[in-house]
Amino acid sequence: MTAVIETPVIETRGLGKRYRRRWALSDCTLSVPAGHVVGLVGPNGAGKTTLLSIATGMQAPSAGTIEVLGGRPAAGPAQLAKVGYLPQNAPVYAGLSIADHLKLGAHLNPAWDAEMARTRIERLQLDPAQKAGTLSGGQRAQLALTLAVAKRPELLILDEPVASLDPLARREFLRDLMESVAEQDLSVVLSSHLVADLERVCDYMIVLVASRVRVAGPVDDLLATHHLLTGPRRDPGSLPGGVQVISASHTDVQSTLLVRTSGPLLDPAWTASAVSLEDLVLAYMSTAAADGRRNRHLEVQK
């Protein structure tokens, strides 16, 4: 990977959001690089939706700072024009037709790409005169996505875009999203609690558990530096330095470890095998619950 020095699309420092007494997000420090399709993954309640709604200016943070494309979220028309947002459940105006929604986009966005919006709706085989309230969940998500991409943003933020879709609509939506990303020079952040959804489209992954970044990095790097080790039962502490144990499970005679290491594993006692992205993410999610405060800010060196 070439080292790209660019402003991060989202950069937060100590970001927190409190609802009455409960902190939905606390002390969240992360940096989302530009030019990626970034998957933000974490269990329900990790603070993903809160983080993304702060990034779009729909909520104000209670603590900390956030910069989106170098600016304050929703600070003005220019900032709003740079960020496309597809909120959870893809809300649309039930009483307005698809054509009305496209007119809405055209009237409210100076950079609106009417041609793209029109061809997208055609390709989806939607009738422009149809009221948005009668669309299926998948169609509604597609309409909302059309609105978000046709304003030609630099950053597209999608919050659980496929959570409510059936498997087929899910696949179509993600394929469609990737086509849009390929056509435009677009950074994307999309959140999900299901790794399988993200695996297909993301090239960068951030695992967020209880407001903390557990691990973040390009998917290829993550897969290259994580290994599943199996061998005779022994204490994980006896592993050489530079090897970090992410999770461990033991039977009477055998130990299975998920480890991260930058160098090759030379110990012949262990059998190393590749790890799937899903297993990797799940390991980070489950250990987060177990060891709470240790290893708070893990980052993969690029």
Binding site: L80, P91, D100, A111
Partner: protein
């Protein structure tokens, strides 16, 4: 933004204009005939003492017929327009967007929330004011004969002075103030409660409370009232009195002598020293008779030196006078402007709050 505002407001606007059109047709169809009746009773350009009788005759003949029903209906529409605007235009404006989640769609276009609200608020407020005022002006035109009859001295039947609560609330510029206030109130309730139906209920309750409290407690004190102490004899008939034959009495004025169209706030008898009193002077206790009180004072049979008139004369002879507190008719427009101003300031304050809230805590 103007396109979206129009697109979302279109249905309400069409309903409002349809209602206005129906109202206009109804009044235009009946107004000329009412004016003909007025002229037929010899009231066109009437001057002189006889006008009050002619006006009474006209007013009495209209009462109970279709015109008094129309009069009540047309006044009712003007009274109802502001709360309907507050409920159906104001309350859903923000609440409905939050409720359906479309706020996230609306506020993520390349238009700031401040501008979004500014355009919607300006368009809605101007339309609300125009609609309320249009209803009021149409009704004023239609009811001109009835209002003129009241000004000429009609004291029975439909119609009442310009200061009466019903007339004050439906004429002049107050409907405009109520409409914009109700609209802003609805928006604010919606922004705070975030759900349309409860916001509508709260809007209605608060607006009704204002409409009750304003004429009862605020309006009479918008300017320090005038006081006059007048002789019992100068109280125009029918001044009501009670208690002949007893040891206490009441005496209240129905209008302010020499002050046509004035707003009478309170009245009551005072003694020679100027203090409020209700004790019947001993010499008058035997004047009048409790036995004939059930008979109408105008037709009742009283012995010589008996009855209400004799009682009033006896009271006057013992230094009893009537103290009246009132607002002169000349203050009508000052009161109209002040009350409308209060509602406009309240509406502006609520709008300012909505802008602040939308900027800081939109959802």
């Amino acid at each position: 933004m103007i396109w979206l505002t129009w697109r979302q407001f279109r249905t309400q606007a069409i309903i409002a204009f349809a209602a206005m059109a129906a109202y206009a047709v109804l009044l235009a169809a009946t107004g000329p005939h009412l004016a003909t009746l007025f002229a037929a009773d010899g009231l066109d350009g009437c001057r002189g003492a006889n006008c009050a009788n002619l006006a009474d005759y006209f007013s009495g003949s209209v009462t109970g017929g279709p015109y008094s029903a129309l009069w009540a209906l047309s006044q009712g529409v003007i009274l109802l327009a502001p709360p309907v605007i507050g409920l159906f235009w104001g309350a859903p404006l923000i609440a409905r967007e939050l409720e359906t989640g479309t706020s996230a769609l609306a506020w993520n276009q390349s238009v700031t929330r401040t501008r979004w609200l500014a355009v919607k608020l300006a368009a809605g407020a101007l339309t609300a004011m125009a609609v309320a005022e249009a209803f009021s002006l149409m009704q004023s035109w239609w009811a001109a004969p009835i209002s003129q009859a009241v000004a000429d001295g009609a004291s029975i039947g439909v119609g009442s002075s310009r200061f009466s609560q019903l007339n004050f609330d439906t004429h002049g510029i107050t409907p405009l103030g109520y409409a914009v206030f109700a609209f802003a109130l609805g928006i604010t309730a919606g922004a705070l409660i975030r759900r349309t139906l409860p916001a509508m209920a709260v809007t209605l309750a608060i607006f009704a409370a204002f409409q009750v409290a304003m004429p009862l407690w605020v309006r009479p004190n918008l300017a320090p009232p005038d006081h006059v102490v007048t002789s019992v004899a100068s109280l125009g008939s029918p001044a009501s009195q009670a208690g002949p034959g007893g040891d206490s009495f009441t005496l209240s004025a129905h209008d302010v002598p020499g002050q046509p169209g004035a707003w009478l706030l309170s009245s009551g008898p005072v003694n020679a020293a100027g203090q409020a009193t209700s004790a019947t002077p001993a010499a008058c206790a035997s004047v009048g008779s409790t036995g004939v009180r059930s008979v109408s004072p105008n037709t009742g049979v009283f012995g010589p030196g008996q009855g209400p008139a004799a009682f009033a004369a006896c009271l006057a002879g013992h230094g009893i006078r009537e103290a009246i507190t009132y607002q002169p008719a000349s203050r009508y427009w000052r009161f109209q402007a002040t009350e409308t101003g209060i509602y406009l300031v309240l509406a502006l304050a609520m709008a300012g709050y909505c802008f602040r809230r939308l900027r800081r805590r939109p959802s």
